[in-house]
Symmetry: C2
Amino acid sequence: MKNYIFTPGPVAVPSEILIEMAKPIMHHRTKEFEAIFAEVREGLKYIYDTKQEVFVLAASGTGAMEGAVVNTLSRGDKVLVVNGGKFGERWGKICKAFGLDTQELMVEWGHSVDPADIEKALGKDPSIRAVLVQASETSTGVMHPTKEIADITRHRDDVILIVDGITGVGVFPLPFDEIGIDVMVGGSQKAFMLPPGLSFAAMSEKAWKFNKTSDLPKYYFDFKAAQKNAEKNTTPYTPAVTLIIGLAAVLRRFREEGRESMFKRHAKLSLAMREGMKAIGLDIYVKDVPSPALTTVIAPPEIGSSKVIKALSSEFGITVADGQDQAKGVIFRVSHIGDIDKTDTLFFISAIESVLHKLGYKFNYGAGTKKASEILFGDQ
Amino acid sequence: MKNYIFTPGPVAVPSEILIEMAKPIMHHRTKEFEAIFAEVREGLKYIYDTKQEVFVLAASGTGAMEGAVVNTLSRGDKVLVVNGGKFGERWGKICKAFGLDTQELMVEWGHSVDPADIEKALGKDPSIRAVLVQASETSTGVMHPTKEIADITRHRDDVILIVDGITGVGVFPLPFDEIGIDVMVGGSQKAFMLPPGLSFAAMSEKAWKFNKTSDLPKYYFDFKAAQKNAEKNTTPYTPAVTLIIGLAAVLRRFREEGRESMFKRHAKLSLAMREGMKAIGLDIYVKDVPSPALTTVIAPPEIGSSKVIKALSSEFGITVADGQDQAKGVIFRVSHIGDIDKTDTLFFISAIESVLHKLGYKFNYGAGTKKASEILFGDQ
């Protein structure tokens, strides 16, 4: 059976990119690779919309998250972590592992953080040095209000905003310089439609000021070494050569498509999915603002999401993600990033209808594909 | 022009493995990937010759080196670092970055460490908690006596031996359990003939005892989390899926070839290279025991290695590595690991002869290929 991957990372990688990465290996200390790396640097700045360097790390996203913390903060620093899902929880775990005084702002799963709560917390405790948040919380499908949070932190010299943009960068607008984010991490296996194994990070001027006094130990994820080497179109340690070659090819595609078109593409696919799901009577898990990276759909409670996921896999070769922790067996998570277009999205909805029908769920068969079709193909 | 990569990492990757990694992407939380991961675990144990788990990290070798340090040691611990090249120097830098009391045993470039010096240092200072060394120092081409050093550390409960096996594991025998190594790291872009982006690490029982009291901060490289997840055929964070699929294919090849044959292959290729180079009057940089991973050849001083390297590239599309630091412009480094066989090795020597002749070096043309040929094809 053919396989279709609709998970919110790893995502489907275009065949042309897979083939690009299958070319004979290249040494990284060569003019040829340096030219590719220079291209990657420019391409990443374009997607991040920044003048700052965007570091390319041979590590998955969690490595870059650790890098964001250890390059800016100091032992005992007080930080405010927005914890509204598995990845918010991960910020907390990283901060605690490095001995930070970690205050967690708990947000109910399915909800976005209220920026007012962050403002209140910062007002109450002026010793807080950093706010850590997800631009898009992949466990719940929620988008947090990065811009509104940055509006609070950017005019404070003593607080930085650290954003996990792993399912945000390249998915929806997060103009790094304009918004005033201080550190933002990204990952290859998301909007960048590559295999996992690369992650990214950019630092603002304010973050570099924090870096000067930061005393957390760092070596592999030392951004100062990354900065120094990037300026010479290289990395401090052996880069993941094949993934970077794939990245250069992907970034070329992105330039052609244009970042605004990329954002529109994700927005449209996710809107079609949400409306399609609602049309067949399913609820979306997100109560506030949904991320266009993925849609989190509540399965009919009498069936549960695990059965739906299993049937999608056995009947159609489709892989989607189950919920995690409290959402496990409750929701399924379907991606709008990676090598997925409107055709795939429509096909996915037709598969969901087929599977739900077989599992005995009562609904107006065809309502989902009809609704999605109107959105996907309406204004073409 | 066709390209030939003879650098000691990244190395040439077999086409079949490149194609394996170009297959459509797979999600890591699937039965299919778990089966591949289980196979990888067994294959790595075979190559490491250990009953211990061998962790698979999405990071290049330096990441695993950092992991080896942070998972075993504690702030302020005294360590003895063997520094006889760039990678020994790196052990020192990592240890210092993490606040360890770092004592460096300086070894002249081109020489192996004398185990007696390690024994003396440990006897003089019983507070030393770890010895850190390279099995093979890639900057000089030297093999350090891992077994003899382990004979000193293995019977001391309070000292562990941490080995950088990045150009050692799979290259020559380093039976982890039998020798009594405590932590050993490896990298994908060496004997494993894969692109860079994966690294490996195994821990002995003694290393796990050290882990219990280790207070260095760790999250991404936390081996306890890696161990817990490996037992369920997964990793704590998103694995570098495509590289792991390539690794499974490579490890299958290794099983077929047999590790003893692998070791013999590298030994033979490196012997042929050394003898071939000597036959045309060139000296080998290594004064003690050469590593079979690579040969470090001193270029004719009146020409210098940079010219040789440039000509190899422009005339034959061959990439080799220059020396580093004090050896830059003095030596070139040619690899015997990766997808390189006896034919490639002979061809390489014929290219060197051609290039040196053109550069005006006087020698008995054909003596290098003749000598190498006798070794490579003599007893087939």
